[in-house]
């Protein structure tokens, strides 16, 4: 049995990859992401947190790009290149974990809302709606301010404000899956809530979830940068705090374009890569989008 399942799954993955490869933009996004993640993971082998320490910033202040500092320096003489490299760890970590948190909350509540259609479903749905209309950036700002500045609190602040759209999406998919006849058959055979939601619903919403999470990471990175720019950060260098620094210390009036452009472009590139990947995944996994794309 399991053997058969595995063969089937491997074949499905093979089919999926063959399909994904045809989306050139998606592949480009994936490559960029892979490079960014590998660089972030390898960073501790070459540099450490001291590159973000003002005390060890030895270069000139706001120096333009040179051989010593290929991307120039900031207001305290720290190398922008090294800060970007080290800061990518914070930005990506917060992006991934916040998206993960938001996905977990969204999936659990979404499936629950779709599966229990009575009073429980209605309550969950109202709560979701309530979170959906909250201005998420403001809520995240307030949450982060109350919880204090650390990586965990920023992740929580982003995660708990961005799950409602995932929950809505998953609920819709759950409803569609549960309308299929085999769910009824399964029920007739005596399957409980747990069996149906984990064995039948979850595997069927998983592909959609993957695509949605990929897009969610992109928006979490943007939110992290926004929060950092507005002054709520994890006390660690990230691309957002660098942008904030360039604004605070008048990089624009000093003509230090490298200090503004580099973190900004990094955010744009990574967010773009996630979006390209996510869109490609959506197209591959959603048959309706695919037929439209081919037609």
């Amino acid at each position: 049995m399991s053997n058969v399942t595995w063969v089937r799954r491997r074949r499905a993955i093979g089919r999926f990859w063959a399909d994904f490869r045809t989306h050139r933009a998606g592949v480009v996004g994936l490559v960029i992401l892979a490079v960014a993640v590998v660089l972030a993971l390898l960073a501790p082998l070459f540099i450490d947190a001291s590159v973000t320490n003002v005390v060890s910033g030895t270069g000139a202040k706001m120096a333009p790009p040179s051989l010593d500092d290929p991307l120039g320096t900031d207001e305290s003489g720290r190398s922008v290149l090294l800060m970007i490299w080290w800061g990518s760890r914070t930005s990506l970590l917060i992006g991934f974990l916040a998206a993960l948190l938001s996905m977990v909350i969204g999936t659990v509540l979404g499936i629950a809302a779709g599966h229990f259609r009575g009073r429980i479903g209605a309550v969950i749905l109202r709560v979701t709606d309530w979170f959906l209309v909250l201005p998420s950036l403001v809520t995240a700002l307030v949450l982060a301010a109350i919880l204090g500045g650390s990586t965990a609190t920023i992740i929580v602040a982003i995660g708990v404000t961005s799950w409602p759209s995932t929950a809505r999406l998953i609920r819709a998919q759950t409803l569609a899956v549960e309308a299929r006849p085999y769910i009824e058959r399964s029920l007739a055979l005596g399957a409980g809530h747990w069996h149906i939601t984990t064995r039948h619903v979850l595997p069927n919403v998983a592909p959609l979830l993957l695509a949605s999470t990929t897009l969610e990471v992109a928006s979490a990175i943007v939110t992290e940068s926004t929060l950092a720019f507005l002054g709520v950060s994890a006390n660690k260098t990230s691309w957002g705090t660098m942008l904030r620094g360039s604004y605070d210390w008048g990089a624009a009036t000093a003509g230090a374009w490298w200090y503004i452009l580099v973190p900004g472009l990094c955010i744009v590139t990574v967010v773009m890569a996630f979006t390209l990947c996510g869109r490609a995944l959506e197209t591959v996994l959603n048959p309706r989008l695919r037929t439209r794309a081919h037609a």
Binding site: N53, V54, V55, S56, K61, E75, S76, G148, G149, G231, N235, G245, D248, W249, G250, T253
Partner: protein, 598 residues
Amino acid sequence: MRKLLAVLAALCVLAAVPGTAMAAEPAPKKVIKIGVTQSVDSMNPFLAVRLVTGSIQRMIYGFLTVPDSKTLQPSPDLAESWTTSPDGLTWTFKIRQAKWSDGQPITAADAAWTFNKMMTDDDAKTGNGPAVENFASVTANGQELTIKLKAPQASMLDNPVPIMPKHVWEKIPKIGDYEAEVYPTVGSGPYVAVEHKKDQFVRLEANPDYWRGRPKIDELQIIFYDNPAASIVGLKKGDIDLIGRLNPSDFESLKSDQNIVQWNTQGRRATYLQINHGATTSDNKPIGDGHPALKDPKVRTALHYAIDKQKLVDEVQGGLAKPADGSIIPPLYKDFFWEASGAEKISFDLAKANKILDDAGYKKGADGVRTMPDGSRKLQFRFSIHTDTPVEEKLAEYLTGWFKELGVTLTTKRLDSSKFSEETGTTALFDIAISGWSVNPDPEEVLGTHLCSRRPTASGDGGGTESFYCDPTYESLYLEQQKELDRGKRAETIKKMEERLYTDAPVIALYYPNDLEGYRKDRIASITPIPEDKGLLYGGSGYWPFYTLEAVSKDGASADGGGSNAGVIAGVAGGVVVLALAGFFVLRRRSGAADERE
């Protein structure tokens, strides 16, 4: 149609009239506009507490004495001369023969009424209450004012209370509810307030009867800006002529403008770290959650050694400050300024700082962080700063960097200003906090912020402490300087107090920020700072800068001013014509449509 033409013509004439009127007037008013980023809280001096309001009061009302423009020592203002009884308890002031701006004579009864009002009416204490705390009685006899004190007080001649006209103010039933929005105000200073629009501006006119003589300009306007960046733009555009209290980056941005003079002199402020060295309430009960290691003076001294003040000045203040080798009184006040020297002087030395902690038994763990000698807690401190203050953020980054090399972890805690004041001034929920104080010519106020009696009560009332400090040596020195009427001897005692604060380190002075201001030289011909030698303009002690201020004479600037005026008038007239024509066509079309409908 003919009617419309007539209206149009009338409008044009109206637009042109101010122009002709202006041209006819021989000497246009000399108006100087000062930009400020704080708005006036109350025009009633008994209630006002804000700095901007204090500055305006100095221009409208006389005081017993003012700081001398050269030496900053007390010099005669409304009080012509004064004598003190041998025991220092009775002060007699001779009030100057001068007139209020409404023509009534100024007498000692005015001053006596002002002080008595503050002593008897709690509402009237809001503004300057502490100034009369030590007064036993105040009586007047003609031009002679007699103040009897409960205890000798050396700072008597730095009395911050503006003298109010009794004949105007005694009619007010309840001082606490009175906003004093009656113009022109009756005062005895160089200017008279003639208009105040809340959160917008205050307009002052020269007082022709001022006893020193009329100011050289006709009108002084104080214009409020919500946003410092907007005020900088205002100065560059010429909406305002002078702005004070700039931060280093705004100051730098004025560099490129040829019409603006960058004013960069020593300031009256000290920036320091406040250290929670075991905070207690006024009944000596522990309060707050300060780290126990900071109770140890050795740890505080080690931290002091680990701060490179010159680097902070260069990096955090853009070089526009002076590193502090003294305490809370900046070098602007030469008489009272104390600076460490010799073996006592603490200069940046990480090796020495590490050695002090090693010797005191704070051992480094495997992670490089030190622990208490008994191993109970790691040396992890919080550093409280305000939200949205880049300068404090940067300061925090540097301290974190240096302390890390000391085996001390510092984490930054950002608080909005009301929470910040509460945690660092009342509830003591901090380890190390940023702080600062603008010092008056008489330093008694700032010295008083480190007294035992200033600590809050258990219920969180009272206070005003800047350190939760309570030290017997400091207390006795404070009492000594308070009684000492000889300025030189008093200064010596005050220096000992500063030395005590330096070596015991409940506060660690970091630097003295420069006074950064900017003014337009195409509007202001000359302005005398206070003190005259490298002093302050706005925010200085006394009205001197704005009394001596001279506007650029219109001969030189008339081409400019007149030209732009003419341009404005032409523009307005043009605009009116266009509007009138547009209105005419709209009206016609409407009436046309109405015709059709009928």
